[in-house]
């Protein structure tokens, strides 16, 4: 931020100089296109990204993350910390003080009762709340007055900023959702389609999976905002049509998440109607290596710890597979400026990012060949290596997606350069990421040797994410194939680090633990990170104020958007 703009905003905050366009609704309509159409506005019932982002036009949390990943107060004046006394010394409670004078879009005051109600709503029996994890560990909530919320945990909570923080956990109005608790939640169609909020816009028409129309909230706390009188959020189509509508034909002002080949995007941008914006979060495209044997001959014991993988249990093979991959080229072909090479499964925020594994940035085919030769894998007549009658032949599965199929083809070729034969398979995303117990093709069952997908974590705290590779998280028939530990990695040392992180409150120490865990996974080569994937969106040249945010909803600051005159 330049000195001038800082000064200007300071002046504006004092209300001395009215801005030229500082008038609510002066800029007409903003058209937004999401190629995946939102099916409701309530993030607690859906959990999907598209619903969460649509909901964020209306619903707001107490605090959220800005585009740098820093937590900013939203409906409160300050973020509670141990230092300012907002968080108890023993880490068992947090006290939020709501900003004064905030009202719902129906004009009624926003109070601590609404905040408490939101917790009750999400944790009610039989409601199937998608964000219940955010409210984990809360023993009770006290509301000593209308502006004070005291959240009591059932034990020390080193990172207390999950409940009521971020686009996943916004506040619902108690008066509106009071009859929608638990099993009744799905029946409240009107509430779920048009929730009342404190945010800049109010739903006027909601057509599920099609289009949402909103108008400026007359009771929004800043009288000069939002600059737009109405919002049209159109859903459906595909990333290409969405990109075209903003960058080439100018029909829309903002297009969400344009996952397209970099040269296609660059050519669209060259049409001159709009700009691409990008941001990075924690999303890492990675290859998971199966340490268990997926052979169909094993029946029920297939892909379980009972049978180690005949090839991939050899660390030399795993390391060679990683060394053969040319990550910079993958980034260039698949993501361009919206991707970065990463050698860590935990690439961000800055303090958690390890630098110990950066050797993977440069491919080393000769080194990989030498490593396999040393380990006793000798090339056969057809160029494929064998050892003790085992051929180095892998089944490589991933979900259907143009970039992933290009990656598969490239990696297959690089692996064939080191004498590894690869069979490729792509599976429809709805099957691959589903957890249908009868389907053999889910990413959790992992009936293949290696698989590729992307994952990240909400917010900025990696505790739950890193705990995903502890022994207890291994999917198996006993737990209906639930869990995030796809490689079936099981190490006592790792589990000890996970347990330690759950006890540690101090940020530096937590960062250190997370780095250690990351390095352990990386140096055992059970996860091969490929690309730190950014998000690319596009906005029209005439749209000002867009700050793309990967840590929260993309539409988090829509109140600040305006039309360039």
């Amino acid at each position: 931020m330049t000195f001038k703009s800082t000064l200007l905003s300071a002046v504006a905050a004092l209300g001395l100089v009215p801005f030229a366009h500082a008038e609510r609704g002066a800029d007409g309509q903003v058209n937004i296109i999401y190629w995946q159409a939102p099916s409701m506005m309530n993030p607690y019932l859906s959990g999907g990204t598209k619903e969460l982002e649509a909901g964020s036009l209306v619903l707001e949390p107490l605090a959220r993350y800005d585009e740098t990943g820093a937590m900013v107060p939203w409906l409160v004046d300050t973020i509670p910390t141990v230092e300012n006394g907002g968080v108890a010394e023993d880490l068992t409670s947090i006290t939020w003080t709501l900003s004064d004078g905030i009202t719902w879009s129906d004009g009624t005051p926003f109070t601590s009762a609404d905040v408490k109600f939101t917790w009750e709503y999400c944790t009610a029996e039989g409601g199937g709340c998608a964000q219940i994890e955010k409210y984990g560990g809360i023993a009770s909530i006290d509301t000593p007055d209308t502006l004070t919320v005291v959240v009591n945990f059932d034990g020390p909570k080193p990172f207390p900023y999950t409940a009521f923080v971020g686009a996943q956990a916004p506040i619902l109005q108690a008066a509106q959702f009071g009859d929608c608790m638990g099993a009744k939640a799905p029946e409240c169609t009107d509430q779920n389609f048009a929730p009342l909020g404190t945010g800049p816009f109010v739903v006027t028409d909601f057509k599920p999976n099609d289009v949402i129309q909103l108008k400026a909230n007359p009771f929004y706390r800043d009288p000069a905002k939002p600059a737009f009188a109405t919002v049209l959020l159109k859903g459906g189509g595909d990333a290409t049509t969405a990109g075209r509508a903003v960058l080439e034909t100018g029909e829309f002002d903002y297009a969400w998440n344009l996952q397209l080949a970099p040269n296609v995007l660059a050519n669209m941008e060259a049409a001159g109607k709009g700009k691409l914006v990008k941001a990075f979060g924690t999303l890492v495209e990675r290859i998971m290596i199966n340490l268990s044997d997926p052979s169909p001959a094993l029946g029920d014991a297939r892909a379980t710890l009972a049978h180690p993988h005949p090839i991939l249990s050899d660390k030399a093979v795993r390391k060679a597979l990683s060394m053969a991959i040319d990550r910079p080229l993958l980034v260039e072909i698949g993501y361009g400026d919206a991707g970065r090479v990463t050698c860590n499964v935990l690439p961000a925020p800055e303090i958690y990012a390890s630098t110990a594994n950066d050797a993977c940035m440069v491919p080393d085919v000769d080194g990989a060949n030498a490593l396999l030769d040393q380990a006793g894998w000798a090339r056969g007549a057809d160029g494929v290596r064998t050892k003790d009658g085992q051929r180095l032949s892998l089944l490589f599965q991933t979900s259907t997606n143009a970039v992933r199929q290009d990656f598969q083809a490239l990696i297959k070729q690089w692996w064939s350069d080191i004498g590894v034969e690869t069979e490729l398979r792509n599976i429809s995303a709805s099957v691959f990421f589903g957890s249908d117990a009868d389907s053999p093709d889910t990413f959790q069952k992992f009936f293949a040797d290696v698989e590729m997908y992307a994952n990240n974590f909400d917010g900025t705290d990696p505790e739950a994410y890193m705990a995903g590779w502890s022994c207890s998280q291994i999917p198996s028939p006993a737990n209906q194939w639930q869990g995030n530990n796809m490689p079936r990695y099981c190490s006592e040392a790792y589990d000890a680090l996970v347990a330690e992180m759950q006890r540690t409150g101090e940020l530096e120490a937590r960062a250190d633990l997370a780095k250690q865990m990351n390095d352990m996974l990386m140096q055992d080569f059970v996860i091969l990170p490929l690309v730190d994937r950014g998000r690319v969106s596009a906005h029209a040249n005439s749209l000002a104020g867009v700050k793309l945010n990967m840590w929260d909803s993309e539409l988090w600051n829509i109140a600040d958007w305006s039309r360039v005159k």
Partner: protein, 300 residues
């Protein structure tokens, strides 16, 4: 086709058909074109020996040139080699799936139209198949049979059988309906009644009198069916229900290239042209065959 030892007539019926077919200009052009396409995709790889899956990343996104007559794709794979490899699969899938759909549809249509007692059940079966949502049906077929088929026939043949069956078994219904409607009308015509009155058996009636007369809708179904099968295959592969992702087919090449339509229009042009030419040639051959088999047209 001729059986000189068994037939004492100087000219067999098939010879007549062939003579008529030869005189049909459109049919000959179609047949020539079809043979040319077949020869290119099946014999071409012996002359143009680049591996269609070989990635030469430095040569990506190239236009037509000496090293790559049709250019390269976004990973630097040779488009000509991919077109030939894709053609083999697409033509094989297109023809076999079409024949399967035609066989099932034609059989059910004729039987339903001819035997009144079977009409009801068979048409209700057709209704059922028309009503089933395609995508879940295919998902179920893949889930149930992929593993078994690839174990018994190897991964590629196994998936080929699966795809051909999936397309064939989900596209026979229109043919069945159309053939049935024609048979219903035909069966009341004078020549059928005449044939029946001289004691022709049902089997004889169907093969000698009914089938030749429902040939034209069958021919139309066949030509449309090839196009349909080639396109459906690409949709299946795209959904991850078909061939492995690095296995080129014309439909897939067309699908992959569509996103580059503005940047590299020639990439969509080649597979589009190949599919269109194949379907057109099949259409003209069908026209010729229909004319050649129609005794009235023959006598003209």
């Amino acid at each position: 086709m001729t059986e000189p030892a068994l037939t004492s007539t100087p000219r067999s019926q098939w010879r007549d058909v062939w003579d008529q077919f030869k005189r049909h200009r459109g049919a000959m052009v179609g047949a020539g074109l079809f043979l040319l396409i077949i020869a290119t995709v099946f014999l071409g790889p012996y002359l143009w020996t680049i591996d269609p899956t070989y990635i030469d990343i430095r040569a990506r996104d190239q236009g037509p040139g000496w090293a790559h007559p049709l250019g390269t794709d976004q990973l630097g794979r040779d488009t000509l080699a991919r077109m030939m490899a894709g053609g083999r699969t697409s033509i094989a899938v297109g023809l076999t799936a079409m024949l399967l759909a035609l066989g099932v549809g034609g059989f059910i249509g004729v039987i339903a139209g001819f035997f009144r007692r079977l009409d009801g059940p068979l048409m209700r079966l057709t209704d059922l198949f028309l009503s089933l949502p395609l995508l879940p049906l295919l998902l179920v077929m893949v889930m149930l049979f992929r593993e078994q088929l690839s174990q018994s026939f190897g991964p590629e043949t196994g998936i080929f059988i699966l795809i051909v069956c999936a397309i064939g078994l989900t596209s026979w219904m229109p043919t069945a309906r159309i053939v049935r409607s024609d048979v219903l009308a035909l069966k009341e015509r004078e020549f059928i009644l005449a044939a029946r009155s001289v004691g022709t058996t049902n089997a004889g009636l169907i093969t000698r009198h009914i089938l030749p007369n429902v040939l034209s809708p069958i021919m139309v179904s066949a030509t449309l069916g090839i196009a349909n099968a080639i396109i459906t295959e690409s949709a299946l592969s795209f959904l991850g229900l078909g061939f492995p992702p690095d296995f080129p087919t014309w439909g897939r090449l067309l699908n992959d290239a569509t996103v580059y339509i503005q940047d590299y229009p020639e990439r969509v042009f080649w597979p589009g042209l190949a599919i269109s030419l194949t379907v057109l040639s099949a259409n003209y051959m069908g026209d010729g065959l229909r004319d050649a088999l129609d005794p009235r047209a023959r006598s003209k």
